[in-house]
C-alpha cells in the first residue's frame, strides 16, 4: 500500500465511523419524525433524546475529520468535489445546522409550540441531510465529478439515478441503524414494549433496504457501469460478506439478541462502504484521478499520518471513556429493573 492510500484509508475509517455513529443519530431523528402525534410519540421521542443527547456532537466531529484530511492530503480532489457538488453539500450543511441547533435548543425549552417547531426542524433535517450526503457519494462513485474547479455539471452531478439511489440508501441505512441501536437502549431504559416497537421498525426497514439495495444493482448497471463492474468483480467478496452480516443481523433481531444484532448491523454497513471503496480503487474521482495522482506532497502526507496516529492514540481512549460512561449509566437502570418513574 502506498503512503497516499494509507492516509486515504485512515480518512475512510473516519467516514465509516461517521456513517455508523452519526448515521444512527440521523436515523434517530427520522424515527422522531415518524413517531406520531405529540402525546403518542412522547415515549419514543424521549428515548431518542436520551440516547443521542450526550454523544451526537462527538459523533458529528467525524465528518469534520473527513473533510480536513481530504483538503490537506487530497486538496485538488477536495476542491473539485466541493465546487461541482456545492449544492447538495450546502444543503447538507444547512441540514446539519438546523438539526444540531434544533436538537440542542429543544432540550432547553419547555413551551409546547416552540418544542414542536424545533422538533420538526430536528426531524426533517435528520431526513434530508443523509439524503444529500448519499447523493454526493453517488455523484463521486458514478464518475460525475471530474478534477478541476467546478468542472462538472452542478446539477446533474447529484440529480441522477446513482445519486438518488445513494441518497435513499443513506436515509434507509441511517433509519435501520438507529432502530437497531434504539432496541437495545429501549430494553435497558424502559419497558419491553418500546423495544418491540423499534424491533418492528428495524425489521421493516431492513426489508425495504434490502429490496432497494437489490434494485439498486440494476440502477448501477445502467447508470454507473464502472462502479457496477467493481462491485460485482473485485468488490464482490465484500458485498457478499455485507449481505451475510445483514442476514445475521436480521436473524438476531428476530431472536431479540439486540446487542449482537448491533454488531452485525454495524458490520453490514461497514462492508457496504468498504465495497464501494474497493470497487472504485485506485481512483479518488473515478474515472479521472487516482489516489496517487491526487495526493499532496510527501512531507504533507507524512505530517498528516503522524498527526492521525498520535491524535488517534489520544482520541480513541477519550471516545471509549465517553461511551463507557453512558453504558454504565444505562446499566444502572437495568440493575434497578423498574420502569421509568413517569
Amino acid at each position: 500500500m502506498t503512503l497516499p492510500a494509507v492516509v486515504l484509508g485512515l480518512m475512510f475509517v473516519g467516514l465509516i465511523a461517521y456513517a455508523l455513529f452519526a448515521g444512527a443519530d440521523f436515523g434517530a431523528g427520522i424515527w422522531d419524525l415518524l413517531a406520531g402525534g405529540t402525546r403518542r410519540g412522547a415515549r419514543q421521542r424521549d428515548l431518542i433524546e436520551h440516547s443521542i443527547g450526550p454523544v451526537w456532537e462527538a459523533n458529528h466531529v467525524w465528518l469534520i475529520f473527513v473533510l480536513v484530511v481530504l483538503w490537506t492530503a487530497f486538496a485538488g480532489a477536495f476542491a473539485a468535489l466541493a465546487t461541482t457538488l456545492y449544492i447538495p453539500l450546502t444543503l447538507a450543511a444547512f441540514g446539519m445546522i438546523a438539526r444540531g441547533a434544533a436538537f440542542a435548543f429543544r432540550k432547553s425549552i419547555t413551551t409546547l409550540g416552540m418544542r414542536r417547531f424545533l422538533g420538526a426542524a430536528f426531524a426533517v433535517s435528520s431526513l434530508i441531510t443523509p439524503f444529500f450526503l448519499g447523493a454526493v457519494v453517488g455523484g463521486v462513485a458514478s464518475g460525475r465529478v471530474p478534477p478541476g474547479i467546478a468542472a462538472g455539471d452542478v446539477v446533474t452531478s447529484w440529480v441522477n439515478p446513482t445519486s438518488i439511489l445513494g441518497g435513499v440508501l443513506a436515509v434507509l441505512v441511517c433509519a435501520y441503524l438507529a432502530a437497531v441501536f434504539l432496541c437495545a437502549d429501549a430494553r435497558r431504559e424502559g419497558p419491553e414494549d418500546l423495544a418491540e416497537q423499534f424491533r418492528a421498525r428495524a425489521l421493516g426497514t431492513a426489508a425495504v433496504t434490502g429490496a432497494v439495495g437489490l434494485g439498486g444493482f440494476f440502477v448501477l448497471r445502467a447508470d454507473a457501469p464502472l462502479l457496477f463492474a467493481g462491485l460485482t468483480g473485485r468488490g464482490l467478496p465484500v458485498i457478499v460478506l455485507s449481505v451475510v452480516a445483514g442476514l445475521v443481523a436480521i436473524a438476531l433481531l428476530v431472536l431479540r439478541r439486540y446487542a449482537s444484532s448491533r454488531l452485525a448491523s454495524g458490520l453490514a454497513v461497514t462492508t457496504i462502504l468498504i465495497g464501494w471503496a474497493v470497487a472504485q480503487y485506485p481512483y479518488v474521482l473515478p474515472p479521472y484521478l487516482t489516489i496517487d495522482q491526487a495526493a499532496a506532497p510527501r512531507t504533507t502526507l507524512v505530517a498528516t499520518l503522524v498527526a492521525l496516529i498520535v491524535g488517534g492514540a489520544i482520541l480513541v481512549p477519550a471516545l471509549a471513556y465517553l461511551y463507557t460512561l453512558f453504558q454504565s449509566e444505562h446499566a444502572e437502570h437495568a440493575e434497578v429493573g423498574s420502569p421509568q418513574p413517569r
Binding site: L67, A303, I314, A318, L319
Partner: protein
C-alpha cells in the same frame, strides 16, 4: 473562448456574495469561539471555588454557566461545520492549491475539537454522577483542547496573512510543502495571543453584563453580585494584557503587512513623524475630518517619533484594501478596548483602595453595556485583519478574486445562509434568555436526569440539591 468568459463572469458575480457569506458565517462563529475558549475556564474555576468554600451561590452559578456553555458550544459547533464546507465550496482556489501547505493545522484542530466535544459531553452529563474532584478534572481537557484548537485555526489564518513553509515553481505550483513550518509564521503567536485574550474579554464582560442588568432591575442578592464579579474580574485582568498584545500585533503588522497598517490608519503618503489618526473618512487619497495625535503612529510602530511609516501609495491602487472599512473597524476596536480598559481600571482602583466593587448605578450601567462593547471590539478586530488583507486571500500570492469558485448560482447560497442565520440568532438568544430566567432548564448535552427535571414539578427536582451538597 466563450466558455472561459462565461466562467470568469460567474466568478466575478460570485466574489462579493462569497465574501459576504464567509464574513457573516465567520463573524457569527467567532463570538461562540470566544465563549468556547473562556467559559470552560470560568465555569471550572467557579466550581472549584464552590467546593473549596462550600458556597451554594457559587454552586448555583457554576451550574447555570455550564448550561449556557452547553447551548453556546452547540451553536459554535454547527456554525463551525458550515465554515469547513465553505472553505471548499467558496474558495477552491485557496484550498485546492494550498491545502497541502496550510490545511494541516485543521487536521490537528479536528482532533482538538473531538476532545472538546467529548469532554463537554462528559462534563455536563457527569455533573451529579462523578466525584467533585473527578468532575473538575474532566473540565481540564475541555479547557486545553479549546486553547489548542484556537491555536491551530489561528495558525492557518496567520499563514494567510504571512504565508511561509513552501516554495513554488515558475507556474505557481507548490513544490515543497512544509506544513509544520507553515504553522509557525511571524503572525501566529501574536494573533493567537490576541484571540485567546479576546475570548476572555468577550466572555467575561458579556456574562458580567447579564448580572449587571439583573442588579439594575433590583436583584442585588449575593448570587447576582458574585455572578457579576467573577467574570468581570477575569475580563478586567485580560483588558490591560490585551493592550500590550495589541501593541505587539501592531508592530508585527507594520513589519509584515505595511499596506494593512496604512489602511488601518488611512495613511496615503509614506513619511516620517507620522501622526496617529482617529476617526475620519478617507477619500481623494487622504483622510478627512480625523483627529490627529502628532508623531503617534511613528512612535507606536517604530518607537521613534521620526520613524518612517509606509503609506498606501507604496502599492498600486488595485492592491489596496478598502480603506474606510479597515480604518473604522480598527478605530472601533481601539475605542471599545480603551473604554473597557477604563472600566477595568475603575474596578481595580476601588478594589485597591476599598476592597470592594464600585456601588454606584453608573458602574452597573457601564458593566451592563460592556458585553456589547467587547463584541464590537472583537468584530472590529476581525474585520481589520480580514478586510485589511484584501485584495489578497494569501498575502501577496493569491488574490481573493482568483480563489473564488466560478460555479454558477453560487451567490444564491449567501441569501439562504442569511435567512438561516437570522433564525439561528433569534433562537440562540431566546434559549439563552430562558436559561438565564429558569434555573431548572436543561443543557443540550445533559442526559436522562435533565429530562426528568423538566417533567418533574419544581419541588421534586433532586438534581439541584445534589449539586449544592
Amino acid at each position: 473562448m466563450e466558455q472561459i468568459e462565461l466562467v470568469l463572469s460567474d466568478a466575478a458575480e460570485n466574489l462579493l456574495p462569497a465574501r459576504m457569506q464567509m464574513a457573516v458565517s465567520l463573524g457569527w462563529h467567532i463570538i461562540f469561539v470566544c465563549f468556547g475558549l473562556a467559559l470552560p475556564v470560568i465555569v471550572v474555576f467557579t466550581e472549584w471555588r464552590a467546593h473549596r468554600r462550600d458556597d451554594p451561590a457559587l454552586h448555583e452559578l457554576a451550574r447555570a454557566w455550564a448550561k449556557a456553555m452547553g447551548v453556546l458550544f452547540a451553536a459554535g459547533a454547527v456554525s463551525g461545520t458550515l465554515l469547513s464546507f465553505e472553505l471548499g465550496i467558496l474558495w477552491p482556489g485557496l484550498m485546492g492549491r494550498f491545502g497541502p501547505v496550510f490545511g494541516f493545522p485543521f487536521v490537528l484542530e479536528g482532533f482538538a475539537f473531538f476532545i472538546e466535544a467529548i469532554f463537554v459531553g462528559v462534563y455536563l452529563f457527569g455533573w451529579d454522577r462523578m466525584s467533585p474532584r473527578a468532575h473538575i478534572l474532566s473540565g481540564i481537557p475541555m479547557i486545553v483542547s479549546a486553547l489548542a484548537g484556537a491555536f491551530f485555526v489561528i495558525s492557518a489564518n496567520a499563514w494567510m496573512n504571512n504565508p511561509t513553509g513552501f516554495t513554488m515553481d515558475a507556474q505557481g505550483r507548490v513544490v515543497d510543502a512544509h506544513p509544520v513550518a507553515a504553522m509557525f509564521g511571524p503572525s501566529t503567536w501574536p494573533q493567537w495571543a490576541h484571540m485567546y485574550t479576546a475570548g476572555f474579554m468577550v466572555t467575561g464582560f458579556t456574562v458580567a453584563s447579564v448580572y449587571a442588568v439583573g442588579m439594575l432591575r433590583g436583584r442585588r442578592d449575593r448570587y447576582h453580585q458574585i455572578g457579576m464579579l467573577i467574570p468581570l474580574t477575569i475580563a478586567s485582568i485580560a483588558a490591560p494584557v490585551q493592550i500590550v498584545i495589541g501593541d505587539w500585533i501592531a508592530g508585527n503588522v507594520a513589519r509584515n503587512q505595511p499596506v494593512k497598517l496604512a489602511a488601518m490608519e488611512g495613511l496615503y503618503r509614506t513619511g516620517t513623524g507620522v501622526p496617529l489618526s482617529v476617526g475620519g473618512i478617507y477619500y481623494d487619497d487622504r483622510l478627512h475630518y480625523s483627529l490627529e495625535i502628532p508623531w503617534g503612529l511613528s512612535l507606536l510602530v517604530t518607537r521613534n517619533p521620526n520613524g518612517e511609516v509606509v503609506g498606501l501609495e507604496a502599492v498600486a491602487p488595485d492592491l489596496r484594501p478598502p480603506v474606510n472599512v479597515v480604518h473604522l473597524a480598527y478605530d472601533s476596536m481601539v475605542a471599545m478596548g480603551s473604554a473597557l480598559l477604563a472600566l477595568a481600571a475603575w474596578l481595580g482602583y476601588m478594589w485597591w483602595r476599598h476592597r470592594r466593587a464600585p456601588r454606584t448605578v453608573w458602574f452597573l450601567r457601564a458593566v451592563a453595556v460592556s458585553g456589547v462593547a467587547a463584541i464590537i471590539a472583537l468584530e472590529g478586530g476581525w474585520i481589520t485583519t480580514e478586510v485589511g488583507r484584501q485584495p489578497w486571500i494569501v498575502y501577496n500570492i493569491l488574490r481573493t478574486a482568483d480563489a473564488v469558485s466560478p460555479a454558477p448560482g453560487l451567490y444564491l447560497g449567501f441569501y439562504a445562509m442569511l435567512a438561516i442565520y437570522l433564525v439561528l440568532t433569534v433562537l440562540t438568544v431566546y434559549v439563552l434568555r430562558r436559561l438565564a430566567r429558569t434555573h431548572g432548564t436543561a443543557a443540550p448535552q445533559e442526559g436522562t436526569a435533565a429530562q426528568q427535571e423538566i417533567d418533574a414539578p419544581p419541588s421534586e427536582r433532586p438534581g439541584q440539591e445534589d449539586a449544592v451538597r
